[in-house]
Amino acid sequence: MRADILIRNGRCMTMKDKEIMDWVAIEKNRIIAIGNNSEYEDLIGNETMVFDAKGNTVLPGFIDSHFHAVQTALNSVSFDLSQVKTHEEMGEKIREASKFFVGDYIRGIRISEGQFKEKKYPGRVLIDKYCNDVPVVLNSMEYQVSILNTCAMLYFKIPFTAEGIDMDEKQMPTGIFRKQANAILRTNILKNISKITRKSAVSEMMSTLLMNGITTINAMEGGFMYCDKDAEFIFEHGNEFPIDMVLFYQTMDIDKVRTMGLNRIGGCLYIDGTFGARTAALSFEYADCPGTMGSLRMSQQELNDFVIQCYKNNLQLALYTIGDRAIESALNAHENALYQTGITGLRHRLEHAELINDKQIKRAKDLNIILSMQPSYEVYWGGKGKMYEQRLGENYKRTNPFKKIIDKGVVICGGSDSDVTEPNPLLGIYSAVNHPVEEHRVDLYQALKMFTCDGAYGVFEENIKGTLEVGKLADVVILDKDILSVPLAEIDKIKVSITIKSGEILFNNLG
């Protein structure tokens, strides 16, 4: 037996029983051997490609357990307008973009009213001055507002009878859409994005994922604020891309999911909102908005009914919960469903669970619930002076308590929530070991597990992925450092040198 690929002189962290080996051999799409010293020599043939890892870390391919694939891809071909200061500056950016325009329309994202010197959103007449021959669609930071130029107003299906269309003094639409009108318009626009555009955007995104060592994502697609066509696209075409995409359809339509033959449902199936918009459901008032505690998107009874149906249909369920009140509601529903049905083993998940408390961790453990969390949030929002503290006051010290969760025996699978944070597992690992609140920090091995074997466990793939073991898929990454020797504070500077997916070398920075 000869290997197609042999990686030697590595610190191969198998992610099984903390074993570290010297080399790993791959034939076709599987790992065929792994060992120490020079026992690999018999496996080298004329055709074997041998990589010298030079003492650097070799790991199972990273699994990103919460990733909005299509929207990340589409946003990556959009213009980030968050840094412009005036309407004119924004207009010039759009004018520039229109010169190199390809595709259906120009998308500008991440604007907010407050960023402009004028302290208001620009309307269509103003945007027309910079671009009047191509449809332009601008979205606010959290997609609560859409702005169209006149060309886009005539190009897209506009929900003219819906509430939330800004009108000028002549009772003509200004091009600014909020509330119902925005929600319908956004759905209309996303629905009209062609399959070709989706395909080309997702294809372009692949290089970024492979560069970051990602070989599997849990694709959270469809549903409100997103688009069911995204989920349908991943369902139909997900296997045409080089990495594995495990589809989580963000819908409550159990029949549809069953008909599609999926064995899971949910993802961002909203039980509450976000800290940013102060809509995450808290058990206390927001520090920067007294009297506001966020709200639940479903009554307990509605949630109970839905969760029971998921149990009865043997579907793995992923619920979006951010605030502690939302987590409580989700756990109540799971306890009720378990009590009513007695069905176990479905590995239900709570996505984000940023403000989970000690009692809830214990209940999650009792229910065998997996927490799908995003450590990088702490880099973006955690610690003194950042968003968590602004919104939650002293309670910012309670967010993402990774160590407590792991110590209680609850499995955490790690994700990026891309493109909310960048799709970089090493940043997530860095964040988990350098949590701004010291008591929540986990050791490096635990952090690596979140993005490897525990990620595989989160989607029932631990028998084929997540560890370097004989017989498993050859999803392997080689880093440019020995991660165990690098100071914890510098883990975010580590880069991926090589990414192998199912035995194919898809990213190679070693030359």
């Binding site: 027309d128 003509m172 409550m252 909203y270 998107r297």
Partner: protein
């Protein structure tokens, strides 16, 4: 015969042939502009302002003359020798005597009336092939583009009215399946319209598709919440509760909407809808006991001891009908300790749940008295087998 279609991609049919390609975009736009202003006499300058605002005066006048000629060349006089467009040195307009059909004219004429029939409404509905001048955008013609936007608003409103009227006609004719399809079409346009959602749920219930009504409410409620951060109105929620509590898939309602027994395969499920009143001690417990008594499951209640019946009778006299001895009024009126009432209540629930799966729905938990609230908490902790307590706010 001339047929003009401006809703959706423009189509000009003359004597059975499509001629819009011969006319070109601007000529089609000119015809549409004149139709929209049929009752007005548009000056040449105004038309130029709409369609050739960035051309110099001579070029713009030439463009208008050329397009009018193009129209005249392709759309000949009718059998009464009327030309389609009336032109003079100052103005242009459609000749109202010319024999032609146009989708937007037919729609503009619509006014709901009791004479509306399925056929007449369907004919109007079919005219909506899309938006006005769909796919058209006239660069730099700001005023004309604004006019299209303005008229699209107008036609979208008319479309909703026509669909609503069609749904009414279908409902009146008891053609529920097609009525549902029309309501769904309206919801495609206005997905957050609670009145239409309510109507749809009502029709589902009427035809015995209770499960679809419940499923629809859940989706509607979730979408409303996720997209807009709001919950359904009380009216819609009440309709949902009403449908949810109705027993049969065929839409039959039970004798009591408050407590029901459902028999499936010899297993009887019980559903109790309970209410709360603020600051009235034991009200919720009393309400539940009363409804259990109403269910007619005497065998369960008879499992209680005489003393337990008396204890419960202190807060709900209906249960005393199961007390076989003569009631000692002195004993009956004597104050009973809280703990005895609660213990008796738990025994009653255990007796009921022992044989039947029981769901108690609490409708307004926030108004629950303190003693009942503590009992509910206790019940959750001790987890009586077969008992499910649901809070509905």
């Amino acid at each position: 015969m001339l047929n003009l279609h401006f809703l959706g991609k423009s189509k000009i049919e003359y004597n059975g042939k499509e001629i819009e390609d011969k006319l070109g975009n601007k000529a089609v736009a000119l015809i549409c502009l004149l139709v929209l202003n049929e009752k007005r006499y548009l000056s040449r300058d105004k038309i130029i302002g709409y369609l050739w605002p960035d051309s110099n005066t001579d070029a713009a006048k030439y463009n208008l003359r050329y397009n009018l000629w193009l129209i005249k060349k392709n759309i000949l006089e009718d059998k009464n020798n009327n030309s389609f467009i009336k032109v003079d040195t100052e103005c242009c307009s459609i000749n109202s005597k010319y024999d032609y059909d146009c989708d937007i004219n037919d729609i503009m004429k619509f006014k709901p009336s009791c004479r509306d029939t399925v056929d007449s409404m369907l004919k109007l509905k079919r005219l909506f092939r899309g938006d006005l001048l769909e796919g058209c955008y006239f660069n730099k013609c700001d005023e004309f583009n604004d006019l299209i936007i303005y008229e699209r608003i107008n036609f979208e409103q008319r479309k909703v009215k026509i669909l609503q009227r069609l749904a009414e006609v279908y409902e009146n004719d008891k053609m529920y399946d097609v009525c549902i399809e029309v309501l769904k079409e309206i919801l495609e346009i206005e997905p957050y319209d609670e009145k239409i959602a309510l109507k749809l749920m009502d029709i589902y219930r009427k035809i015995g598709k209770r499960a679809l009504a419940i499923k629809y409410f859940n989706e509607f409620s979730y979408n409303l919440s996720c997209s807009l951060g709001i919950h359904p109105s009380n009216e819609l929620r009440n309709k949902y509760n009403e449908i949810k509590m109705s027993v049969s898939e065929l839409g039959e309602t039970s004798n009591s909407a408050k407590a029901t027994v459902k028999n499936t395969n010899n297993i009887s499920d019980i559903k109790i809808i309970s209410y709360c009143i603020k600051n009235v001690d034991y009200f919720w417990i009393s309400d539940v006991i009363g409804k259990i008594v109403d269910l007619g499951i005497d065998d369960c209640i008879k499992k209680l001891s005489e003393k337990q019946l008396i204890d419960l009778g202190y807060i709900q006299s209906d249960i005393l009908k199961f007390y076989t001895e003569e009631i000692d009024m002195l004993d009956y009126k004597r104050e009973v300790m809280d703990v005895r009432i609660i213990n008796a209540f738990v025994k009653l629930l255990e007796a009921v749940c022992n044989e039947r799966s029981t769901t108690i729905i609490i409708l307004n938990k926030t108004d629950m008295d303190e003693i009942s609230a503590n009992v509910v908490e206790y019940l959750r902790k001790i987890r009586i087998k077969g008992l499910n307590i649901i809070e509905e706010n």
